[in-house]
């Protein structure tokens, strides 16, 4: 314990000065949803499965894919069900 006391006294803080110092996200972490829209076939699977109703897919002819980041609970379910695998999870949070 004495060792810990000294390292607490003279060591650096256990916390980071966020947002100035950021930790690199871990690989495989679920940060935010990304869609490679060029590959998307607008099938609507992701919209139907999303538990948070965060995705709205416009069917033909207008073909649109809209996603509300603030509704998303980053569960990754849509990534799993997308038939063409155009959805992916970016380990980064924000921007």
């Amino acid at each position: 314990m004495i060792k810990r006391v000294f390292s607490n006294l003279f060591g650096s803080p256990a916390t980071r000065l966020y947002p100035f110092t950021r930790r690199e996200p871990f690989a495989g972490s679920r940060g935010q949803l990304k869609n490679d829209i060029a590959k998307c076939i607008f099938c609507g699977q992701c919209q139907r499965r999303c538990p948070a109703d965060a995705i709205v897919v416009g069917k033909k002819p207008d073909k649109s894919w809209a996603f509300d980041r603030y509704r998303c609970i980053v569960c990754g379910y849509c990534v799993e069900v997308c038939p063409v695998k155009c959805l992916s999870m970016d380990p980064k949070h924000g921007d």
């Binding site: 314990m1 060792k3 810990r4 256990a14 871990f26 495989g28 972490s29 679920r30 499965r49 999303c50 538990p51 609970i73 980053v74 569960c75 990754g76 379910y77 799993e80 999870m89």
Partner: protein
């Protein structure tokens, strides 16, 4: 009889992580009676299962609690697997055990910090939470999220842990063990902590049995009951030792949880060593028909899920009995006779999780 005063404790109180109100009937500085008032954080999650399909509800169940989240989703999945007669692969059972036990360590560390905070021991609070950060990072590395793991699904788990990931788990477990060896004995032998916890908030074995205490609260009163004994998930193969104490006071509850943290680390080690290869989930077809009562041991005690399906993709009913609900009656039995200053310590000693109690 001296004059009685009623002091409202909560719903907003510096030591309370979540809102519950206890109306404390006081005689001078002593609590004579405590009357609980709940209902500050009801979210209607049980009703929501009627609107979402049973696969989406795995994520819903996970959000019942922000601390033992993974274990809620596992209980839900185990229930549905029972209704639908699905046998999950061995590897999935082991992975559920590993994540579950790592989750338990995180929950107990969080609790230890909050308990220390309740009697003003900020050092222990920060130290416990610093260790907890190691656990949360491990969860993020292996499952992709710090708290809402989202890895359980009906039929197994969604994500595998690679050999490198398993080695990472072992390294973190060893590092945690080193930290625990350093600070747990200090916490358990500290004079001021003992002054605040020994003999405080006593619950006898008879009271605990009569009032239906569960989890560490029951085990600290000498009742050796733990649902993991039944060997669900991979507990049968991995095996574990029940940690019990007999004093039934706040110190005993602290000792039980500290002992359990060590036991969790041992279980994770054994599970990693015995990890079978193979698939991590099986496809599940059809919709659930029938009803089931699923039970599982969470960090706070035994949780009970009642699930009823009628052949549609949405469940007809879900009902959850959380461990804190079972521990509220014992809490009310612990409070009479204590000093007002001990109330926060006693309340924290049952590790209350009001959000999941009210869902």
């Amino acid at each position: 009889m001296s004059k009685r005063t009623i002091i409202p404790f909560g719903p907003q109180h510096p030591v309370l992580p979540e809102p519950i109100q206890l109306r404390l009937v006081m005689e001078e500085e002593r609590v004579v009676e405590a009357l609980p008032a709940v209902g500050y954080i009801h979210r209607g999650l049980e009703k929501l299962v009627e609107k979402k399909d049973y696969n989406q509800c795995v994520f819903l169940a996970e959000r019942v609690c922000g601390i033992c989240s993974f274990l809620h989703s596992v209980t839900y999945c185990q229930g549905l697997e029972e209704i639908m007669s699905v046998t999950i692969p061995d590897r999935a059972r082991f992975l559920r055990l590993i994540w579950g036990e790592v989750h338990r360590v995180h929950s107990h560390l969080l609790w230890l910090g909050l308990l220390a905070d309740s009697f003003g021991f900020e050092n222990v609070f920060m130290h416990a939470w610093r260790c907890r950060e190691m656990v949360l990072d491990l969860l993020e590395r292996t499952a992709g999220h710090r708290v809402m793991l989202g890895v359980s699904c009906v039929g197994g788990v969604r994500r595998d842990i690679s050999d490198e990931g398993l080695a990472d788990i072992l390294r973190t477990v060893d590092a945690l063990q080193k930290e625990f060896d350093e600070f747990v004995p200090v916490v358990l032998n500290d004079y001021s902590i003992k002054q605040r916890t020994v003999g405080v908030g006593k619950l006898t074995k008879e009271q605990a049995a009569e009032l239906g205490a569960v989890g560490p609260v029951a085990r600290a009163s000498g009742i050796a009951r733990d649902f993991r004994e039944t060997g669900y998930a991979a507990y049968g193969e991995v095996g574990f030792k029940i940690v019990t104490e007999t004093a039934g006071d706040c110190y005993a509850r602290m000792k039980v949880r500290c002992g359990e943290m060590y036991e969790c680390l041992n279980m994770v080690r054994r599970a990693v060593a015995a990890m079978p290869a193979g698939a991590i989930n099986v496809p599940v077809k059809g919709n659930p028909t029938g009803e089931v009562v699923a039970r599982l041991e969470q960090p706070r005690g035994e949780v009970i899920y009642y699930l009823k399906g009628n052949g549609a993709k949405n469940l007809e009913r879900m009902r959850i009995r959380t461990p804190t609900f079972a521990n509220l009656a014992p809490l009310l039995a612990m409070l009479p006779g204590c000093e007002l200053a001990d109330v926060p310590v006693i309340v924290l000693s049952i590790d209350p999780c009001i959000s999941c109690t009210e869902r």
